[in-house]
Symmetry: D2
Subunit: 342 residues, 4 copies
């Protein structure tokens, strides 16, 4: 059986990535592609790399007949997404890729995003989309909130350690490096090739990046007490890939054992042999996450490094994995593409 | 039914690309991976991006029992490949990715490669592997010779024009730009990141590049008279992708029509609307070739631009496409992966 | 003696490059920096790489007292530049880096730029700024028009050959590859890192790029008859550098001799030994232009390859070289910086 | 007065960088260039970007007459450098860029480098070349040991804070990102463009990188007690530039004030306004180091980020700065080149 799929916000990178992944998915049919600003154009015009596919023309959201749609991905910008989703049919399955439904606490949302939430009813029913830790709720969910790409990376490195009481909860540092596609297809001076290539810099330093809200919510829930981490993202001269270097106080061998155990049946989370380090080059274009653990010369200190592709496992791949679960498909359908190297 | 496949030379980029493509191929099982210099290692060690696959350990060629193998890819360096293939069972289907069996004339081989061919018997039976133009011979071939990646790109732009008598055969210029993975995983100073990034240069200038031998052989055969083109390759600071800008004397609209007609049923060759230009970014990681045609302000001059991924359509994807035909599989099996952008 | 210099359009790349070059110039003092859209900001804010310099704050053009200024660089966008320059004091020495004063024929300007020229009086007195060929006129000029960066590269490869009657004037092809900074600091989707990196494409194909107007004007003047070349620019995933591969019909050794002779006393134009090819990596950040000449296997065909940095020799370095001449400074002052490699 | 300079190891990146910097130095004459493996070649052949300079041909070290040399730079590989320097005239001023003379304690050297030092007498007289903190000793030194490029970056961020007692000495983490030229011009698979571009990974994880020996030596000396930091270097897909993100426990405003005070008269060390973050793009090709300080949402935590060019301020620029001091030149001579951006 083939499911009919709609994508809202199809002219951005995560929208295009959803189409790329579904191109070889055996059970999904892309029925509608919406992008208000580019309605009337062909997808081949907006994303020439998808030229070989037979795809519907871009339309406005209003033009979509949702009665035929089995599941809708919303790849709209945050703040916009919540308004649009509030107006969609109440029985439509939705996977949202924006930040709008990640935070369960409306007050936390208002604090981090600077305005009250416009669709609190939907917010209340949304399930946090970190597949490996919310699989059962996702199965029965109507609305799944895709996680932040940085937030996913950090959580894969840390959740089993927090749950297992293996690390000092008051001394966690996530130094993260991310490719530029995470910032989307937006016209900003600092995203120009001439500005960004051949170098690196930190941004959102000092506890201001919004993905911290997710870390706070999730790590505190896992620990059963408030947890506040340090988190510094850096922009890399690469299109895809997140590398999170996580510094903790805890025993490295125990940490490695805990991660290996937690993920031993997970198709996409791969814990490397002890002491090996992952590279973003080795997960590019795929839904895999590689995780390495090392000790330090200072006893009791450990380093966990996690690598994933922000557009795939960090966003559109995760969304498709969740959609597979919601629709009763094989969870890995369309997602076993091997990374592209070199 | 699943075919058992062996890959010789699995520690190079084209070997790894074959594995990547077969990872989601429904009808192929990788039974043996040989790499003499790295025998005994796991593929995950040599190519960590393939870590998620269950693959046989690397062995020496001698260790392979070919009686179980349905088809063997040889991704060995040229000169080595011919010696190895000469010793393989005579009924084994083989797709060679090296330069060793591309030239039908032993004298031409000796001239361009500086030594007599060591397996002239095999050379005589080899079919030139430019799928779209040798499909019928490939179906019945035992040994198929993969084309040069640059040679494939230039031929896709030019063969129908030469066959149709649409261009001046004495004034053809191919200015080609290629990514660095075409040079393989070899330790050369000029392939270092610090030497290669952030710039461009020409190499093999003036009619010395060996892929000219293929152009000479093929274009002369199509034309029924000797054809000699000018060909200048340039190295780009990118890993994958070839862009061939071809300058000819002929009518652009007729050229566009001829290419559109010739490739209208080809699954991988896509002729863009007249006047549009392709980009290597839009075919990366895929088996597609995009071809654009433009006129010039000077009447009677035309420009054809072809883009493909040197590791995929230019090498391993072509090889798999040919193997599909040789084994009676759907020609596109495992090859419909969408390009990875950005 | 120190000359007081003003730069209009200081918030763009060519403006910043002028400041970089003058930072170690012994005889120039930057007295005023104008950038209307960023007036009131410090240069350190707009271009943090210039943070170490004591520079005047950015102002609007109106705020500059030109009575103290010895020479003014205009790095404004074309169309704007002509209007501003028309209003500047008539005795002020000016080097314009825009396209506004390159074409001597008002009809040609109107044809290529789509509107009549707004300052035809200034246009009439402007000297074309290709230093090595207009040195004497530049010395006495009030207004010098900086050349197009692509136009400069092609002319360095071709002028002596056309002047010497060494090549077929009806069969000249310039296949040019350029870095992205030539497009300026403008917010366009195709200049984003995620869109531009890791690939290449042609643009302005078929005789539409405006630098053709300069080729037409200059080559025809040198030849004493109309000359029309083919010219295809390609965008490279690199910030700086132009590589022009020029295909001509003529004897390679004679061409090499003619270029070597023409440039033997030029401080910045370096003809490589016969058969060697230049790389943009080896002129990056400098005012040097490297030129290589090769023959082809087809007798009577030659390839000339020229490399320069579009922001330096192609624009701001050329402008400073011309300013040095206009002010009676040593022509090379501030310009002998060695290229930055790797 | 002009000083005669010799460079040993001129065929590597730091050797070439020394030549680049001295190209516009008013008081230095390059008298001899040695590179045993490439002796007999011209520098233009080995480094075409230096083609415009009149330079002596490469020779073997034995061929140099040191009686005419005022100062010798040794850019030889470590272990080699100590043997060569031990044989040089005992009154020759030397700046060594290798790791051989950085550690004052022979036991520490033997531990980190795996063999006893072969020139302990020289080691005893060597002065550690971190200019801003050893300026007086450097003035009178015969032999100055250039620091590690990573070690310099980390020390600029931390020394004044350790000296001032402003941070917890037992909880210092240096997460460092470095461009590839720091690894030199060596033929290693992981330095190939196809392996390194478009991604990032950590190496030397867990306290194994040799620059830790410098941190241990220097920080312990400053603190007057043993100090052990955590240090994780990452390789970036960029040629030049180091970004060190340093996590400490201490008050951010006090830290910013201490760094600003310590470096207020330093020509090359620039402390940014509080809360701003540096980028490697803004120091590329220059001798400047940009340092930013931010607080964190967790009280008492601070982040210091330092950026410099590994080949310039991290190696050859530092070496030239030290040579200027040793020879009585202006310390900044030849080093005020502005960074190259974009």
């Amino acid at each position: 059986m083939t499911h009919n799929i709609a994508i809202l916000g199809a002219s951005g990178y995560t929208g295009a990535e959803l189409v790329r992944l579904m191109a070889t998915h055996p059970g999904m049919n892309i029925s509608a592609l919406a992008a208000n600003s580019k309605a009337g154009q062909s997808m081949a015009k907006v994303f020439p790399h998808l030229r070989h596919l037979e795809l519907p023309e871009l339309v406005t959201i209003d033009q979509i007949d949702f009665s035929d749609i089995d599941l809708c991905f919303s790849a709209l910008p945050h703040a916009t997404s919540q308004k649009v989703i509030a107006e969609l049919p109440k029985d439509l399955k939705i996977v949202d890729l924006s930040a709008d439904f990640r935070l369960r606490d409306p007050a936390a949302y208002a604090k981090w995003y600077g305005a009250p939430h416009a669709a609190q009813e939907c917010q209340a029913e949304a399930v946090y989309g970190l597949t490996e830790f919310y699989r059962d709720q996702i199965r029965d969910a109507r609305l799944v909130a895709g996680t932040g790409c940085n937030a996913a990376t950090g959580q894969y490195a840390l959740r089993p350690l927090i749950a297992g009481g293996l690390i000092d909860l008051d001394d966690i540092i996530i130094d993260l490096k991310t490719g530029v596609s995470g910032a989307g297809r937006s016209l900003k001076e600092n995203l120009l090739h001439a500005e960004l290539s051949e170098g690196a810099h930190a941004y959102g330093v000092g506890g201001t990046h919004r993905h911290l809200a997710e870390f706070d919510q999730e790590f505190s829930a896992v620990a059963g007490r408030p947890v506040r981490v340090q988190f510094t993202p850096h922009l890399l001269p690469a299109n895809r890939g997140i590398l999170a270097t996580v510094y903790v106080k805890g025993e490295a061998q125990k940490i490695h054992a805990a991660l290996s155990h937690a993920y031993k049946s997970e198709p996409f989370l791969q814990v490397l042999p002890f002491g090996e380090t992952p590279s973003t080059r080795h997960i590019r274009g795929s839904n895999f996450c590689h995780i390495g653990v090392s000790g330090d010369r200072i006893p009791g200190r450990s380093i966990i490094i996690a690598a994933l592709d922000n557009l795939t496992k960090g966003s559109s791949g995760q969304a498709l994995q969740n959609a597979n679960i919601m629709l009763g498909e094989d969870e890995t359908a369309g997602l076993m593409l091997a990374p592209v190297f070199p």
